[in-house]
């Protein structure tokens, strides 16, 4: 029984990391039809931001709380830069964006190597996140629990933003009809840029969160980008609800397969499950007659 709960928690934990990584992709892919392979490198930039902040601030607890908004800003700024210089010319040309952003990802990885060196760097977790928490049925890692809370907060925050704010209305309007949004007075370019800022900022936050689970290296993002895309596609493109369900579903599946096989076989098994699922339901978990973000 304990082992079952432990696996379930491992699934939730993995799911929450995937969710943080996939939320931003769901936004940018849903709105602009852009396949951003550099999204993983925005996570990496967020992780290095945490490293830099900790080198400056020193205290691990304080640096975590400075790193989360700083990672958001760094990820967001990189996203806006990419959008403004390259991607705005390639909306709804997914294959072109895939190639271009893959190139950008390689450049960013090399840049990280040049600045921080090839070996991984360590970011210290604050003392209160280094132990375990007793949940009665099982002991869980405080850091993993923190990431689950962080990802739930990110989903709720994003949901509130999309549902209640003027920017959220502009984003949803632009997703549903770009031409109509323009002709009622919405600057869809400015909206796209803000969407990219928020989506890439979330990747930065995910990167900061990942420093709590392991060391930080130039290829940190590449480990997550494919899984994050699986989440977005399985959830239904542009669907935040679907993204949440797919992230936790895939996380749990991966953890369950890992329990009964090995990590590599589990990856293969999850991929097979997603391929079979998409054969039966190509539109993802949520069918969308009109693409919707909430």
């Amino acid at each position: 029984m304990d082992a079952l709960f432990a696996q379930l928690f491992a699934g939730l934990s993995l799911g929450s990391v995937l969710l943080l990584a996939a939320l931003g992709l769901a936004l940018t892919f849903g709105q602009m039809g852009v396949i951003n392979m550099a999204h993983g490198e925005f996570m990496m930039a967020g992780a290095y931001t945490a490293f830099v902040v900790q080198s400056v601030v020193g205290d691990a607890g304080l640096s975590l709380f400075v790193s989360l908004p700083a990672g958001f800003l760094v990820g967001g700024a990189l996203g806006v830069l990419l959008e403004a210089t390259l991607l705005r010319r390639m909306y709804h040309r997914p294959l072109d964006t895939l190639l271009v952003t893959w190139g950008v990802a390689l450049i960013l990885q090399q840049l990280a190597r040049d600045i921080f060196g090839a070996p991984n760097v360590e970011v210290r977790a604050p003392g209160w996140l280094s132990g375990n928490v007793d949940l009665g049925l099982l002991q869980v890692s405080s850091a993993r629990l923190f990431i689950i809370v962080l990802s739930v907060a990110a989903v709720v925050g994003l949901g509130v933003l999309l549902k209640t704010s003027p920017l959220g209305r502009r984003i949803r309007g632009t997703v549903q009809s770009r031409d109509l949004a323009e002709t009622v007075g919405v600057s869809t370019r400015a909206t796209d840029r803000m969407t990219f800022f928020i989506g890439s900022g979330l990747a930065g936050v995910a990167g900061v969160a990942l420093t709590l689970l392991g060391s930080t290296g130039p290829t940190l993002g590449t480990n997550y980008i494919v899984d994050a895309f699986l989440v977005v596609v399985a959830g239904g493109i542009g669907q935040i609800k679907g993204c949440v369900i797919a992230a936790f579903g895939l996380g749990t599946l991966q953890a369950a397969f890992e329990y009964s096989t090995t990590a590599s076989l589990a990856k293969v098994a999850v991929l097979v499950v997603v391929v079979v699922f998409l054969q039966a339901r190509p539109q993802g978990i949520f069918s969308v007659k009109t693409r919707s973000l909430v």
Binding site: R169, V184, G185, V186
Partner: protein
Amino acid sequence: MLELDDLHVGYGRTTVVHGATVHVPEGGITAVMGHNGAGKTTLLRAAVGLLAPSRGRVLLDGDDVTRLRPHRRVRRGLAYVPQGQQSFPQLTTAENLQLVADTRPRGRARTDELLDLFPALREVMSRKAGLLSGGQRQQLAIARALITEPRVLILDEPTEGIQPSVVAQIERTIADLTSGDDLSVLLVEQHIGFALSVADRYYVLASGRVTSSGDGGDDSHATVRAAMAI
């Protein structure tokens, strides 16, 4: 007010509108009529900035706005109600209106005024626009356009697929709105009777060219019918 000057517009290499010139003066209603495929909607899409003309200019108050993006034209007083009662289907009626009201300093107050003009919308404020009837969606589309307090309102076939009682209401609303000199309307219609009953002047478009134009007087029906060869 709004001048479409020698516009050539198309899609890719196909030109649909060949040098159309349409003047919408201050106040009143200007109708553009023509059969399906005559280039009416293409002309309007160029007027609002959704299509870039290969030749010709769009002038608003004498200023060349041909290269201006659609939302900037809206700020200069141009509003557009596209064909087919288009709305943001997953947004509620209230959100459809709010989306536009957000962009205007007087948006909220203006929304209240427009809900008085279209009271039927008050009953469906929390319903998703995709679930409204055609008539409700058309009223929503017109209200949404009017929130921006335009000086030129462009209507693309506002009566298409709408029941007669709602058509009558739309007709009354358009007539009311244009009774002063504050608002000019550019109306595109296939429904000649409706267009000429409200229009002060008209243009007939055939194969992307203006083939006839004049004032909406008593003899205009015969002239338009002849120009459209019906």
